[in-house]
């Protein structure tokens, strides 16, 4: 049975970007939000350390410094007009969150508390600056809860546990989506004037990841299958501090509060790689340094992990060596109790999953696949772009991790993802509603669910052959080994070949559950198809890019090459073939310079 609905604006995904879009779109237009989860299960809730904004509550800071740090962090691949816009919007949007009720941690004088984070600096002294606005180490949780609370207050229409599987187009204009209702297995057609994708990322393509099970690249895969390119997919961030083997995130805020990375010889090795800001260098820089230490045999007991040490005596020792001061000029010193108040969840995770008490022992960590800088190409109005001339697809918007504006370029700074979802979620909501008010519903095709049924029926009817878990595990290992922190021609070529093989084998994948209700077996299989598509364009884009920039580090091309490669990749997926094109980076006032921390 197929049910039909009509809403002027349909938002896919209910994390921070989707909910922010919903709050703004619903003020002006009939709006519905579809999520494959309950909204409060969204992965925004796992973000920990804070949202970046140059409030200057504790020491001098400037929006311009935030913009420069972001451009530099992005290794000059970010679009500077969009970055300047985002960093300027950061200040009012953080105040807006406080007005909505977000329970930020507070300074002694009652203002929003701020902490240090990697790559965020005072541009004059070059030292780390207090810019990340936080609520303990639960900032993403508080943002997600606050936005959901506001949606309840404003009576936003939700379709919970509706998994979107297809985007509908008519004459090159978006006019709806197809979703399966998990509880019944029924297909639903949502006829819309404007569609917003806010579906998050795809870290589940890698073996060790901080990402939720739900992070399977649905948005990029669905749009690619409808002929829309993906931008800069080769740039995927490895966060330096994931819990060993499990990949669970340990916030950079731990290092912001004074924690340090230590190798098997007991050395604080980051001072050799980033002499000025040390442990608070950009994430790509720190993850590479960790891999080099491990490769040199300097892992803990020679193994493939390192220590993140936040014991108060260690924090205080290095704070004294670095001459770190509080904003009032007194020497920076911490106690175990103060650290517990600053990062309580981290201490809980360490105790639960590692049986380690971080106040008395160092934590075993390794880099973990964390964040997609690439995604659906958009401009700073969250409009989706379909070619290298930046042609807009009418009626289609994207925001948050699924989108590539690009404000993160080749490497995102910590705290800028929460900022991105707020600023561009809001833009998407405003623009989608504005467009919808001036547009008519474009007629649907005769059989709008045909492509969805074709995909699901094949999975249901296949017998024997391949198992989801086998293909999934082979993909994750290959991506980790060959499309990870360090890359080479041979490794990436073999990854492209392997992913082509896996996509062939995926055609024979079968599912055991033949029911309609909550058929998670079927949907897990469908999600694997998304991950394989996304992984293939990631590997193909990476193989083609013959330079090292941000998170894309090649052993065979170790230098950044601005003359040939200061440009965005666009990738189209045609069957098994990946077609690549390129477009220029928007530059305002920041000319590329050598990147040192």
């Amino acid at each position: 049975m197929v049910q039909h609905h009509q809403h002027e604006v349909v938002i896919v995904g209910a994390g921070g970007a989707g909910l922010m879009a919903a709050l703004y779109a619903s003020k002006a237009a009939d709006t519905a939000v579809l999520s494959k989860l309950y909204p409060t299960r969204s992965h925004t809730g796992a973000a920990q350390g804070g949202v970046g904004a140059a409030l200057g509550n504790l020491e001098p800071d400037k929006t311009d410094w935030h913009a420069f740090d972001t451009v530099k962090g992005a290794d000059y691949l970010g679009d500077q007009d969009a970055i300047e816009f985002m960093c300027a919007e950061a200040v009012p949007i953080v105040y807006e969150l406080e007005h909505m009720g977000l329970p930020f941690s507070r300074t002694k004088d009652g203002r929003i508390a701020q902490r240090r984070f990697g790559g965020h600096t005072n541009n004059e002294t070059k030292q780390p600056v207090l810019r990340s606005c936080y609520a303990a180490d639960r900032t993403g949780h508080m943002i997600l809860q606050t936005l959901y609370q506001q949606c309840i207050k404003n009576k936003v229409r939700f379709y919970d546990e509706f998994h979107v599987l297809d985007l509908l187009l008519r004459d090159g204009i978006a006019n709806g989506v197809v979703a399966v209702e998990l509880a019944t297995g029924d297909l639903h057609v949502f006829h819309a004037k404007a569609v917003v994708f806010a579906t998050g990322g795809h870290g589940r393509a890698w073996e060790v990841t901080s990402n939720a099970y739900a992070y399977t690249g649905d948005g990029v895969a669905i749009t690619m299958r409808r002929g829309i390119p993906a931008e800069d997919m080769e740039f995927f961030q490895f966060h330096p501090t994931g819990i060993r083997r499990m990949g669970i995130l340990i916030t950079e805020g731990v290092r912001g509060e004074g924690g340090v990375l230590v190798n098997g010889k007991g050395e604080r090795f980051m001072e050799r790689y980033a002499p000025t800001v040390k442990d608070l260098a950009s994430r790509d820089v720190v993850s590479r340094a960790m891999n080099l230490e491990i490769k040199a045999g300097n892992g803990i007991d020679g193994k493939r992990y390192l220590h993140l040490d936040m014991r108060p005596e260690i924090v205080n020792k290095y704070a004294e060596m670095d001459g770190r001061k509080n904003p009032d000029g007194t020497p920076y010193r911490v106690t175990g109790e103060q650290l517990l108040a600053k990062v309580p969840d981290i201490i809980d995770f360490a105790r639960t999953y590692m049986n380690v008490d971080p106040i008395t022992e160092p934590m075993p960590v390794q880099p973990t696949a964390h964040y997609a800088m690439g995604g659906i190409p958009t401009n700073m109005r969250a409009e989706v772009l379909i070619d290298s001339k930046n042609t807009v697809m009418p009626g289609l918007y994207a925001a948050g991790e699924v989108a590539c504006v690009s404000v993160h370029g080749a490497n995102r700074l910590g705290t800028n993802s929460l900022l991105d979802i707020l600023v561009f979620g809001k833009e998407a909501g405003l623009r989608a509603a504005e467009y919808a008010k001036g547009a008519q519903y474009k007629p649907l095709d005769d059989d709008p669910t045909a492509f969805t049924r074709e995909q699901l029926d094949r999975l249901l009817k296949n017998t024997g052959g391949e198992k989801v878990v086998t293909i999934s595990e082979e993909m994750k290992v290959k991506m980790m080994d060959d499309v990870g922190v360090f890359r080479s021609e041979a490794g990436m070529s073999s990854a492209v070949d392997k992913l082509r093989e896996l996509r062939q084998r995926y055609k024979k994948v079968s599912v055991e559950d033949q029911g309609r209700k909550f058929n998670t077996d079927l949907l897990n299989a469908w999600e694997l198809g998304c991950l394989l598509d996304v992984a293939l364009v990631t590997a193909a884009g990476a193989l083609a890019r013959q330079e090292s920039r941000g998170a894309h580090a090649r052993e065979d091309f170790p230098k950044r090459d601005d003359a040939n490669w200061m440009r965005h990749t666009l990738a189209w997926l045609d069957g098994d073939a990946v077609r690549l094109d390129y477009k220029p980076v928007a530059v305002t006032k920041y000319q590329p310079m050598e990147r040192v921390y």
């Binding site: 989860l37 309950y38 409060t40 299960r41 969204s42 992965h43 809730g45 796992a46 009012p92 953080v94 105040y95 406080e98 007005h99 909505m100 009720g101 329970p103 930020f104 941690s105 507070r106 300074t107 002694k108 004088d109 009652g110 203002r111 929003i112 609520a135 303990a136 639960r138 949780h141 508080m142 809860q145 606050t146 609370q149 506001q150 309840i152 207050k153 509880a183 939720a212 099970y213 739900a214 499990m246 669970i248 969840d345 809980d348 995770f349 639960t352 999953y353 049986n355 198992k467 878990v469 599912v511 055991e512 559950d513 029911g515 309609r516 209700k517 909550f518 058929n519 998670t520 077996d521």
Partner: protein, 235 residues
Amino acid sequence: MLVYLKIFRYNPEAGRTSPSYDTYNVEAEPTDRVLDLLEFVKAHMDGTLSFRRSCAHGVCGSDAMRINGRNYLACKVLVKDVGREITVEPILGLPVLKDMIVDMNPFFDSYKSVMPYLVNDEVPANGKERLQSIEQRERFDDTTKCILCAACTTSCPVFWADGEYTGPATIVNAHRFIFDSRDKAASERLQILSGREGAFRCRTAFNCTEACPREIHVTQAIAEVKNAVRSGVEN
């Protein structure tokens, strides 16, 4: 080590109309999450086994389950914490739809009934943040941690007997706003919770506090709300 898993099954659509249990022997590490075992069974032994999960580290609230007779998040309890014989069942008091999946709508409907959002349209003229002292912020810190997993509400014997009872999670979320110095709707929320199915249905069993994976002092929060119903709020 070999773990003996006993898993609740219910799926009327596939003919499993009365609840029963399937058993699986699974090779596991003591540090594996119970969720890892369920994922293993689903991937390798029985694809029809159904349960919700997402973040897999205790912050999204999808996978509240009854494990060896008490509520946990399956992703936040390790094999070494529950032993080699592990019984997994759906949380109690909400209609079971399929295996460990329950109907969450009554839970969220209750949550929405207490105005779970800040009420205060006044903002500083300079457009900046409202001021709140560290002490004022600390007053409601504990209840901001709630992830709406329903582990508390579905551990409550009053809720098992009376599905109309608003339940601990709803009171926790009311508490989060009632004791926020910036909020202006405490009296309306207290009015809602003073009713027959409100805070005074709590019999102080402390099950909720034991069940909370976020270690919120749920019973204490309920007691503070009861006191506020009687004698008002001092912020």
